[in-house]
Symmetry: C2
Subunit: 210 residues, 2 copies
């Protein structure tokens, strides 16, 4: 039985997903500007020309990576909110832990660092991310806070003013993981971090410090 000697196959359906997967890995490893399209194509097992059959430009490729990796997670968070009628602190805890499972542990967690890193040089990407991801994520947390304030579980505060502050330690941890961690600069163990974070934050939010 002779080995089939084809140099390549036609796989129109599978290519885009394979390309965005390779692109995600490399963008996270090296950043947007520093990643070469040749390398993305090579990792996906095609040539650079092929990449341009499926995506108009480097920026469009990046947007596709975001859409594929983060929008489903946001939808999941919104569903979680709708399906958990209990105390706001439990909902908050659930969303945070689920978020960490996907963003904290998976490769998509490299995206926030990349956005902050490259926003100024690629403002169109920044706007896209702000509109599609950040705004929507903030709305979710604000809704959680409102529920807690309305029920008297949380002290009265301005949810808009606290969103950034409250989620900062999560974003910072995932940024750290994909930057200084990679250079051997260590951080506190994850379990301790999340436990202490939830403790500190909920103590700060609650009306009565149970």
């Amino acid at each position: 039985m002779p080995v089939t000697k084809t140099r390549w196959k036609r796989r129109k359906e599978a290519r885009p997903q394979e390309l965005t997967a390779a692109a995600l890995e490399l963008f996270v490893e090296k950043g947007f500007a520093a990643t070469r399209l040749d390398e993305i194509a090579a990792r996906a097992g095609v040539s650079k020309g092929t990449l341009y059959l499926y995506f108009d430009s480097k920026e469009e490729l990046f947007k596709a990576v975001i859409r594929e990796g983060l929008l489903p997670l946001l939808a999941e968070g919104e569903e979680l909110m709708a399906s958990m009628p209990g105390p706001a602190s439990e909902l908050f805890r659930a969303i945070v832990l689920r978020w960490w499972e996907i963003v904290g542990e998976g490769p998509i967690g490299g995206i926030p660092k990349l956005i902050f890193a490259e926003a100024r040089n690629f403002p169109e990407i920044a706007r896209f991310y702000a509109d599609e991801v950040i705004e929507r994520g903030k709305r979710l947390f604000v809704a959680v806070f409102r529920r807690g304030i309305d029920s008297g579980e949380f002290r009265p505060f301005d949810p808009q003013a606290l969103v950034h502050i409250v989620i900062s330690p999560l974003i910072m941890r995932v940024i750290w993981k994909h930057s200084l961690d990679c250079c051997g600069v260590t951080n506190v163990p994850l379990d301790d971090y999340l436990r202490e974070y939830l403790e500190l934050t909920l103590r700060g939010l609650r009306r009565d410090p149970t």
Copy 2:
């Protein structure tokens, strides 16, 4: 009176500081990799060759920027700690506000974003920053926490575990300022942010929620 027609002056003493100042501005605007040495030299009013008379490489230039901009501030924080014997929460507040005056408002505030952004591509820079700045800053905050715990003002907790969490909102705010803010993606007003941050954090740290 004829216009002095000298094409350039010898200014051995002044050059280094002028070059690091120009470099800081441009590194913050564009990032480390994306900043061209030609442009730094031009902004400092010299040629690129001149730059190489004072700094061995782009990385050495960057280290000089860090040393000049951040090490004095760390020393100041340590002095503040020694000179304020009162409650830990007041000391914490004073250090945070002073930090924001310099890092939050000045151009040096662009450095943290830059470090996280480029750490993976320039690990030597990351190590330098981790050793010279991050470690020393953490030691300062840990000392403040210890004072509060020992005096009974703060609840008992592991200072090491909480440093990252507590300072995250400050770092995130300064990262945001130098990335998404520049693309028109706004944030809560600064005064509100700092007030709510101190309120939330001190509520989370204190033994009694006064």
